[in-house]
């Protein structure tokens, strides 16, 4: 206080006074001081998560606007709005109010389209962010839990998307709900009960839109917000990862501090994301419910698809061969539903716990703050490529009918090809990716040891031709040699002199991961190569 009074005559700016006022009452400066000095490494791939965060903010803003006008009721009304081809048609209040938002409320269609486009971008950005984190190994200790939180948010985002897609009660959303209803009813014993519980009676009932609305605007967003807070807190606690470069270690984070540079950039970036979404929303139609019309269980349109992020599940259902069901104990067992659900469940579970699997295989308990280059973890990169291929095939399968019409193919041909690709694609992708990674590592090794090929051929006095190799500068070399190389774990008996099954499994996995490997160039090797090249 005394210092404040002595300093006051020197600088009496309004902002200074205001910030003093606030700080004396909130002690905000400690927080700003701590956070503002945080370094945030600079790389484009570190902004992918921010795209997701900012599109979520856009979703919240536009969604709030929509709640002012949307009525989550399935009571029947006759549409009296201004869209001619639906005039006088019976529909639910939910559908009618969505049409009103689209045609009769100023700016309503723009906001609705922005909300939907932002939702698509939100999930897409999460997906890309997750791929970045996976392929650079940024999920390793201490960030395993943040990976799990992030992945749970990805699932919740899909839930948010699907509940939102179902709210307008148009034909497309009703068809989507019918598929969910069918999947639930496909579960033995509990299926029918669960469906009746969810829909408050036989599908479609009159309750589902109201229930989904509560999930969509209250429960899921609250959980998402809480998880986002924890996710970001963990980023601060753990520090951000950075890519290998001189001065960057496993103990520090190198980059501009959050205040002022990074905060300004991120703030500006928010407005860029907002602007891009506004531009898209103003130029491109999304989910034209006026074409789809009100939900009626009898019609199903050709080309009925879910939004892209549910596509992989739709594709899984489409790829099941016919006849996968049998009758036992007077019940039909629908393997055509159970198999895809189990396969996708295992896929999702594997992605969720992958950090723990890899930590167990490597047995590495150290912290990792330097992100891997994908080539330097060939097996992980190959597993990731296989997973991406698997997902991509399922995703493509969801649009099998459009692939058939647009490329003039037969529907059956597309489906059978994708069925084969679902099994073979990931295997091929695994081996190709692994070999490509190892080849790239070999190239790096060559470059470190012998420098770049300059393309300059020199004839020596003795008549010998050699190509001059340009040596690497130290900074570049550091980037190429500073990575971890693991060796397969040795199988050793424990203190009782036994080798357990778990250990065997672990050793086997470790061998699978690290048997083929290229070790980074050591100092000795480097000196030896310099030695020979001097001669």
């Amino acid at each position: 206080m005394s210092t404040a009074t002595t300093q006051a005559p020197q600088r009496r700016s309004v902002t200074g006074a205001a910030s003093n006022y606030i700080d004396q009452r909130t002690s905000l400066s400690t927080f700003v001081h701590a956070l503002g000095r945080k370094a945030f490494p600079d790389h484009w791939s570190f902004l992918l998560g921010e795209i997701a965060l900012f599109s979520f903010v856009v979703i919240l803003i536009t969604g709030t606007f929509l709640t002012f006008f949307f009525q989550a009721s399935m009571a029947e009304v006759e549409y009296e709005g201004s869209y001619v081809p639906l005039k006088g048609v019976e529909m639910s209040v939910a559908m009618a109010s969505t049409l009103d938002i689209s045609f009769d409320i100023r700016g309503g269609l723009f906001v609705r389209q922005m909300h939907h486009w932002a939702a698509l971008l939100f999930v897409a950005a999460i997906g890309l962010h997750m791929l970045r984190v996976f392929f650079t190994g940024a999920f390793r200790k201490p960030r395993e839990l943040n990976w799990v939180i992030g992945f749970v948010m990805f699932i919740l985002a899909m839930g948010e998307g699907f509940t939102g897609y179902s709210l307008p009660d148009d034909l497309l959303s009703g068809n989507g709900l019918r598929i969910i209803d069918g999947m639930i009813k496909g579960f033995p014993l509990i299926g029918t009960w669960t469906s009746f519980l969810l829909f408050g009676g036989e599908f479609p009932g009159t309750a589902i839109v109201g229930r989904l609305y509560t999930l969509h605007i209250l429960i899921l967003p609250v959980i998402l917000l809480a998880l986002i807070a924890i996710h970001l807190l963990f980023v601060v606690v753990h520090k951000h990862t950075h890519y290998a470069a001189p001065g960057r270690t496993q103990q520090n984070a190198v980059g501009p501090p959050i205040l002022p540079v990074y905060a300004a950039k991120a703030g500006g970036f928010f407005f860029i994301v907002f602007g891009v979404l506004a531009l898209i929303a103003s130029l491109f139609t999304i989910n034209p419910i006026w074409n789809y019309g009100p939900y009626d269980p009898s019609p199903v349109s050709a080309g009925t698809q879910p939004d892209w992020y549910i596509g992989f599940a739709d594709g899984a259902l489409r790829l099941v061969p016919p006849g996968w069901e049998f009758v036992l104990f007077e019940r039909t067992w629908s393997l055509n539903i159970l198999v895809p659900v189990v396969v996708l469940g295992l896929f999702i579970l594997t992605v969720l716990i992958y950090p723990f699997i890899e930590a167990w295989v490597t047995g590495d308990k150290r912290e990792h703050h330097i992100a891997d280059r994908p080539r330097n973890a060939p097996t992980r990169t190959a597993i990731g490529a296989a997973g991406v291929t698997f997902y991509a095939v399922l995703w493509a399968a969801a649009s099998s009918d459009l692939i058939a019409t647009h490329f003039m193919l037969t529907m059956e041909g597309v489906i059978h090809t994708l069925q084969a690709l679902l099994i073979l694609g990931p295997i091929v992708a695994y081996f190709v990716t692994k070999r490509v990674c190892i080849a790239l590592q070999k190239k790096d090794r060559e470059i470190v040891l012998h420098g770049y090929e300059s393309g300059r051929i020199v004839k020596l006095p003795g008549g010998e031709f050699i190509e001059v190799h340009q040596p690497l500068d130290e900074y570049e070399r550091w980037r190429l040699v500073s990575y971890e190389s693991y060796q397969p774990l040795m199988l050793r008996p424990n203190d009782r002199g036994k080798i357990t099954v778990g250990q065997r499994l672990r050793a086997g996995m470790s061998r699978w991961f690290f048997e083929d490997r290229i070790t980074p160039v050591t100092k000795g090797e480097l000196e030896a190569s310099h030695h020979t090249s001097h001669h």
């Binding site: 484009w44 795209i51 897409a124």
Partner: protein, 263 residues
């Protein structure tokens, strides 16, 4: 023109252009009136001349597959009793004469003039009773678009897609997009069931209901989406591809720019 003369005593600078435009409108209008009257005058469904001309065209262009008297061969079905509407649709949309055997005949630019199509249609129509070319009042819209939209969703959308964007069928067959089809061809398709399409006869969907369906499709053709570009009216697949390639693509390009500046 006269006004500008009175005011300045000279011709208005735009007078020449106006005169030219007027002349063009007159000649064009007269030509259009002349050509439509000739087109209307020529093929009369009952005149023997029309049928004779149609027969000649048929024997020269269609008989290889359908037989000299349209009785059908191993290559193509009999056309006795298919009606004038069927021929008007198949030939008028360019599907016949067929370019090649395949899962279904494909749309291509029509091979005959309007007049020739009508001659062919009335010739085949004269061979046996069948659906006739519909009256103009049924195919020029003016019906209840809301009723038509509902009927379209219930009867047509499962193959042709709710927005008439088309869809896939089995074995390489498909329901074509309806975004660019004339009212008369839509009507004829409903009554004759071309390719893999079922027949919607007048007991199934009355002529007035057919008119409503056409009214709805014409509404969709004439009124583009209020939300902006439609991305082919293909629904979530097109939207998903768009956001990944253009939405996320643009923003990732911007992230590269943001981080590159500081380096």
């Amino acid at each position: 023109m006269t006004r500008s003369k009175r005011r300045t005593g000279r011709r208005h600078p735009l007078a020449t252009a106006a005169l030219l435009a007027l002349g063009l409108v007159f000649t064009g209008g007269a030509y259009a009136a002349f050509s439509t009257t000739t087109a209307q005058a020529e093929p009369s469904p009952t005149s023997q001349e029309t049928i004779e001309e149609g027969k000649k065209l048929f024997q020269a262009n269609c008989a290889t597959c359908h037989g000299l008297d349209a009785q059908g061969t191993s290559e193509g079905p009999s056309l006795i009793g298919v009606g004038a509407a069927s021929v008007d649709f198949q030939v008028g949309t360019g599907r016949m004469p067929m370019q090649m055997q395949g899962p279904q005949a494909q749309v291509k630019p029509p091979q005959f003039t309007d007049e020739q199509v009508k001659q062919l249609a009335y010739y085949v129509g004269s061979l046996g009773p069948g659906p006739d070319i519909p009256a103009d009042s049924l195919v020029n819209g003016g019906g209840d678009a809301a009723n038509g939209a509902e009927l379209f969703r219930i009867n047509c959308a499962m193959c042709h897609n709710v927005a008439g964007a088309g869809g896939a069928l089995t074995e390489g067959k498909y329901a074509p997009p309806l975004t660019d089809v004339s009212g008369v061809h839509i009507y004829e398709a409903m009554v004759t069931g071309p390719q893999n399409m079922p027949v919607f006869n007048d007991l199934n969907i009355t002529p007035e209901d057919k008119r409503d369906i056409i009214t709805y499709l014409q509404y969709v053709q004439d009124n583009r989406s209020p939300g902006g570009f439609e991305l082919g009216s293909l629904g979530p697949v097109a939207e998903g591809l768009f956001i990944w390639i253009f939405g996320l693509g643009a923003i990732v390009a911007i992230t590269v720019w943001i981080t590159a500046k500081s380096n």
